[in-house]
Symmetry: C2
Subunit: 218 residues, 2 copies
DNA sequence: ACGAAAAACGAACGTTCGTGCTATTATTTC
DNA sequence: GAAATAATAGCACGAACGTTCGTTTTTCGT
């Protein structure tokens, strides 16, 4: 009388992998609050009610744990920001969707302490080593996705042809980081609303008449 | 045969205060690289070749050391960014000077690991306590200075009357943080040059014909 | 130059850090 | 269900953490 009901992909994973996932889910949240260096093995073990050594065995070293945490954060980021936006058609709608989903991902506290990568970026930005490299690579890729979205909007004729895609992607993400700063540090609850409006203004300023309308939520 | 030559203000300070200053000078540099939480008493003592307990006595607690470090960083920031810019006449020149000095202060590695406050902002942005509050207050004040500079430029007739000063100050600082991110994390050596150009473009886009020219360095 | 006050030191405290081991459970596989 | 394997726990380690305390050295006002 076993395996009567269908089992989900997650449940079918071997025990070890399931534990590993739950560890990393806690780790990314903790890291977004206390920093990646602040994610301590003992602290994690307490939170998950398991032994330090048992938890440790999943990774073998603190550095491996940090790398796994970055990778896990990346997946969550992809799931909440990139994947839903890529469902939109290429052009201004997709670019705008990336903006909206990024802001929503911060606002909705997908990570307990705001964007994992915002924290990790500034924590590791003047260090050396594989962890820093992993963070930098993830951010390069994110900037690349934004850049391609801008480029796609140009190719769709939604943005003027003379727009510098790299530069505009950078500008948009700068506003995003700034909004994060205002929202998290200054506790300005209107910061993210303002950032949405500013992003839209900037896109509209560079848009052609062909550009479809960009709707603000709510 | 003593005190023949004139003594500087720094040298005339009592011994304790002089040591305290040298500790904090190392602390801010260390914090800009390793984070404020990473500034450890033992590490600081090593760096300064003094005993942990001797160093510790200057502050009484780690939290007091952190508060003193924030205050020291604030003074250095003021000295390198705010004070020189306030020498410029109110209006677009002063606003532009704030931008240029901020970028130069990052580029010139006034702190070893980039801007102390950029690091501290994202390190403490989801914590509680007096250290976080000190950082937030410093940043509020900095944003206020930027906002007043924008407002001054409006009053001088250099910026259009319909410019939202708070919002534009926020936009400028967002570009600054973004530039820091590109320069420090992505190791993009052109990032700060681009940010200078983008700041200038944004100011010019909102400028009146009365606005004096904004010169890029070099 | 001397005595008081301030500063720096050395050793030790209880914790927590990351990381090994060995033993003991759970979970798979046949 | 037994054998093989994987996962977890327990314990110990050396190092570093923030902090305290008593002692020694240095500085400074007189």
């Amino acid at each position: 009388m076993a395996t009567a009901r269908p089992i989900t992909a997650k449940e079918s994973l071997p025990k070890g992998a399931r534990t590993r996932e739950s560890i990393l889910r806690v780790a990314v949240d903790l890291a977004s609050v206390e920093g990646l260096e602040g994610v301590t093995i003992g602290r994690l073990a307490d939170e998950l009610k398991m032994s330090k050594s048992g938890l440790f065995a999943h990774f073998g070293s603190k550095e491996e744990l940090q790398l796994a945490t970055v990778a896990a954060a990346r997946e969550i980021f992809t799931e909440h920001v990139i994947r839903p936006a890529l469902a939109e058609p290429a052009g201004a709608p997709r670019l705008w969707s990336l903006c909206l989903h990024w802001v929503q991902y911060v606002e909705g506290k997908v990570f307990k302490g705001g964007c994992f990568f915002a924290a990790a970026s500034f924590e590791f930005d003047s260090r050396k080593g594989v962890v820093r490299d992993a963070i930098a690579t993830a951010m390069q890729e994110w900037l690349g996705i934004l850049t391609r979205a801008v480029d796609g909007a140009k190719k769709a004729g939604h943005l003027k042809a003379n727009v510098n895609a790299e530069q505009f992607a950078f500008e948009i993400y700068s506003l995003a980081i700034g909004g994060h700063w205002g929202f998290q540090l200054l506790e300005d609850n209107k910061a993210l609303d303002r950032v949405r409006a500013m992003m839209r203004d900037r896109i509209k300023a560079l848009a052609t008449p062909k550009c479809p309308p960009l709707k603000l939520p709510r």
